[in-house]
Amino acid sequence: MTKKSKVELLAQKIRKLSLQMVYDAKASHIGGSLSMADILAVLYSDILNVDPLFPNNPTRDRFLLSKGHACTGLYAVLALKGFFPISNLSSYAKDGSDFIAHTNHHIPGIEISAGSLGHALSVCCGLALAAKRKNCNWKTFCLVSDGELDEGSNWEAILLAPQLKLDNLILIIDYNKIQSLGSVKDVINLEPLIDKFKSFRWETFEVDGHNHDLLKTVFTNALELDGKPKVIVAHTVKGKGISFMENNLLWHYKSPSKDQLDEAIYELSKK
């Protein structure tokens, strides 16, 4: 086994903690957490300017997870980065816990609660606009799912961002190709997705959403360009990293049995 990089280790731990949370709570939505785990690992390792000791630092970058149902991934990466103790995650989705099964803005490091889809991108436009009007240099990152692009409110924001030249806004699409009742292609085909964003006057990027080096490069390149908001279409696999969860709609809903959890953790450890 080759030695793992820091980012690879982080991604692996995000996956393990996410699996443990959904197992403990018998909760849903593990597939979408696993698909974005590598994106989170790269963002929180190499890209975002955030400080666990000063989570509300006014100069921090703002990261908003729009697909709030994939909160286990975000809770995991924040815990691993030291925003709160990892042991807090054991309360996930249990009575009285702050770790609600959709993101909760009362938790350090979480900018907004999200759960109803198609909300965060508009909020991000407001944040990016505020930064522009106040001449601040921090950036706003928004991670949306592919399925939630069905929501019209996203397209209102997608129209607005280039009009305001919000080049401090980076939209990431976790394009895992599966939504609640089937494949994105069969429910509402988003293609040609890149062309849509180009015609809406965005700077567009496409990347393998599981390749850490490419992700880092694409974020770095995106941050260097001025004048337009940027979208990074990250091609991902729902359930990525666990063979029996990959590309399987069932894991939008199902929580693993003890045997399945053990098998999943074993698979991750082998990699």
Partner: protein, 304 residues
Amino acid sequence: MRTAFINQLIEVAKTNKKIFLLVGDLGFSVVEPFAELFPDRFLNIGIAEQNMAGVAAGLAMEGYCVYIYSIANFPTLRCMEQIRYDICYHNLNVKIVAVGGGFAYGSLGASHHATEEIGMLRTIPNMIVCAPGDPLEAKSITTFTAQHIGPCYIRLGKAGEPIVHTEDSLDISLGEILEIRKGEIIAVFSTGAMLKYVSDFILENNLNISIYSFPFIKPIDKKKLNQILNAHHKILTIEEHQASGGFGSAILELTNDLIEEGKLSKPPIIQRIAIPDKFISKAGSRNYLRKLAGLELNKSFFIY
């Protein structure tokens, strides 16, 4: 009322640098002076109210006191979930301003009649609901909302409503009930732009009854309300809103609470004048539509 609002917002914005105005491509010949004076704190966001509410939330997260402005149903019903979840759940400093409350845009039809939004908005935690009764109330409510940190809804009429209050200016505090006229036995509780009609009716018919204006529908000063309820045998509530969930409902709920708390031993009869669970699908002036919806006082109401 909208003129009183915008003029006062400009006054406040001269010293309060956090004021930001977002409009949904509406406000022709109203919002231009604000835009010219404060271009860095103004944006026409286009015809996209869900986005407007979300952007307002983002701006408020960064310290702005954001007013979002449009007509009737558009900044309210059209983006109700953004109001509930992005603005109110996060308790952000966003003020929702609707011009054309009730039937103000009469002939434009049901799409432009705001007759259900109070019932929806007042159920949302953290939300303050205001419906000023005349331009003086609108001016004071504007000042109040700029000082209050948290979500507010301001239901305005249109332009040209006459002033009802006799004072030069008002300084309305949270939940305050305003006494327009002190009479006996019966009191009319008016909210929003019904105030002028109520006031004229009582004057023209020479009735010795009380009139109170409620610029706040949520919250309402419960102590003051209790005093008024205790001092009258009959209350008439009047509003340009559906009967369910609106101002009259709020009064009934509070009255019931006061009875339950043992503070109101002889509760007055409460008669609600509101839209009786129907849409109005005729053209007509504001006054015509009010009559069609039954939003009228009648001398028989005052026989006790």
